[in-house]
Amino acid sequence: MSGTSSPALRGPRRRLMPRYLGVSVLLWAVLAIFAILAIIGWAVLLVPSLSSLWTDQSLRSTFLPPFSDGFPLGTDNLGRNFAWRLIAGIGVSVFVGALVAVISVTLGLALGIFAGYFGRAADAGTNVVIDVTWAFPEILLAIVLAGVLGPGLEAVILALSLTGWAAFARIVRGEVLSLRERDYVAASRVLGYGKVRISVRHLLPNLIPITLVMTVYFMAVAIVAEAGLSFLGLGAQPPTPSLGGILSQGRDYLNSSWWPVVLAGLALSLMVLTLNYVSDGLRDHLDPRVGGRR
């Protein structure tokens, strides 16, 4: 490299925190905390004997503020322990977010490779489907689907997976179009390997970095979308706690208790912020073209 006129001549920036995979350990720690909370949340939701933790009502102790006796985060309008409801809600968010991210990324990967590598007709067809999907703002399509399927988490997961793949398919398609011009892919083609085999052997490994990055990113998007749908009453149905549901309920009692809205909003925002930063950091780390080495 000549370096005579390269713009990256500034000295390296000092980092306060050590990094792992391009992401500060602080962010990994926050992510780990949310993961632990989510696992506790699943336990509380799925083990029947524990459900009383978040369902027990007490009309004598409604709207208790945080740090009350026995209720570290206070109680809601029905006197339920808000701490447990929040943790269960995080569990729901993380579950839906992860599942939707994995499904949309898988779909996007498959269709993106299909569009980019299996000829012009496949490309044109996939593009039309993507554009039709994109004609509806994600949340609108999700709302319509959730409306058709009837409210509930299953509908939300299906709706978000069916809308989320399009963006990723476009990215994968672009990657594949450039990858297929590379020598080793061309060489494999000349050697007579089948398209499916080339896709699996040569294209997929090259798509791993962007797939990882986008999985994290989609998880953030899906968590927001699930909360939004639940907020509108189309997602998790009461009494199942979800962050969106807590926010929607809390909104009606803003005058008497602010903490459900603030705490659930904080948990949600922090989760999304962390995931966004992690996906940005991963992208800079794994994809030198976008970020710049090191």
């Binding site: 039309v128 554009d131 689907l145 509108l232 909003g265 925002s269 912020l273």
Partner: protein
């Protein structure tokens, strides 16, 4: 010219397919119009059959779609199941409120986002740049309904400066506009900043400086002009984002626009209204994206010629 026709044709195709989607959703939805209007347990079967026939529900699907499409083209979007109002009236009533809100947010997002992005890029790594980026990633991560609730809590419930929700005075517009504009504004800022930095480092700026063109002119005329195409292509995307967000923001602020109507109609299982509104929003998005593509060709002389043939 050929490109324009091509692009318009493609938009029409996408709209047609989108109408198939909304039609299908209408059909697939549990319970059709009859079961919503008439109680099937108390209404005699022959009356139900008569209603079915009068609404064309006994015809084959493709004929039903033709009826549906003819209705759309003639402005007959069907009748609301809940209040028997023509859907067209609902659309017209809500459109003004939604357009007002979306337009205000669009202006705020670009009016603040573009200049802030340019300034941040020109003073890269300055305090201003860091503040702008901080605010940007904050608004990018805080979901808009959370932001809405926090703003309501602070400015309406605690400080009582602004109304909680509803419509009427100019004060009602402020919070929904801010909430709606926050994320698009952050994105606009980020895209503008990146694009300006890229262009400011481009070779041609050095040539201009070598010819003694004043630095201000290099930045505000040449760099900005070259950054314009990413801002324009962003515009179409933003319209889609904004329309999506209006759904939630209108519900939160009880803003009587298309978004809250749509959510309401879904919760009420008023499928004709929901399907018509969804398609309407989709049409706006498709038109916006086609206009965006056309504007891009107008803005960027390189695209204009390279694929347009002899125009």
């Amino acid at each position: 010219m050929w490109y324009v026709l091509q692009r318009v044709g493609y938009a029409v195709l996408v709209i047609f397919l989108a109408s198939l989607v909304t039609f299908a959703a209408l059909r697939v939805a549990p319970g059709d119009a009859i079961t919503s209007m008439l109680n099937p347990t108390t209404t005699p079967p022959d009356v139900i059959a008569q209603y079915r026939q009068s609404l064309g529900l006994d015809l084959p699907l493709w004929e039903q779609y033709l009826m549906y499409a003819r209705g759309l083209l003639t402005g007959d979007f069907g009748i609301s199941l809940t209040d028997r109002q023509p859907v067209m009236d609902i659309v017209l009533n809500g459109a003004v409120a939604t357009i007002t809100l979306a337009l205000a947010a669009f202006i705020v997002a670009f009016g603040i986002g573009v200049p802030a992005g340019v300034l941040a890029a020109l003073h890269r790594d300055s305090l201003f740049d860091r503040i702008v980026r901080g605010i940007g990633s904050f608004f990018n991560s805080v979901p808009n309904f959370v932001l809405a609730l926090i703003l309501v809590l602070v400015f309406a419930v605690q400080l009582r400066w602004l109304p909680v929700s509803g419509i009427g005075s100019w004060k009602n517009v402020i919070l929904p506009t801010l909430v709606l504009a926050a994320d698009p504004c952050a994105l606009t800022m980020r895209v503008t900043r990146t694009s300006v930095i890229e262009q400011a480092n481009a070779d041609f700026t050095r040539t201009l400086r070598a010819r003694g063109i004043p630095g201000g002119r290099v930045n505000w005329v040449h760099v900005l002009r070259n950054s314009l195409n990413s801002v324009v292509s962003l515009g179409a995307v933003q319209i889609r984002t904004l329309l999506g967000y209006t759904l939630i923001v209108e519900v939160i602020f009880r803003w009587p626009g298309l978004g809250s109507q749509l959510v309401q109609s879904i919760l009420n299982r008023d499928y004709p209204v929901a399907s018509a509104l969804a398609l309407l929003l989709a049409v706006v998005v498709v038109i916006a994206s086609a206009l965006g593509d056309l504007a891009l060709r107008w803005v960027d002389p390189r695209i204009r010629v390279s694929s347009g043939g002899s125009a």
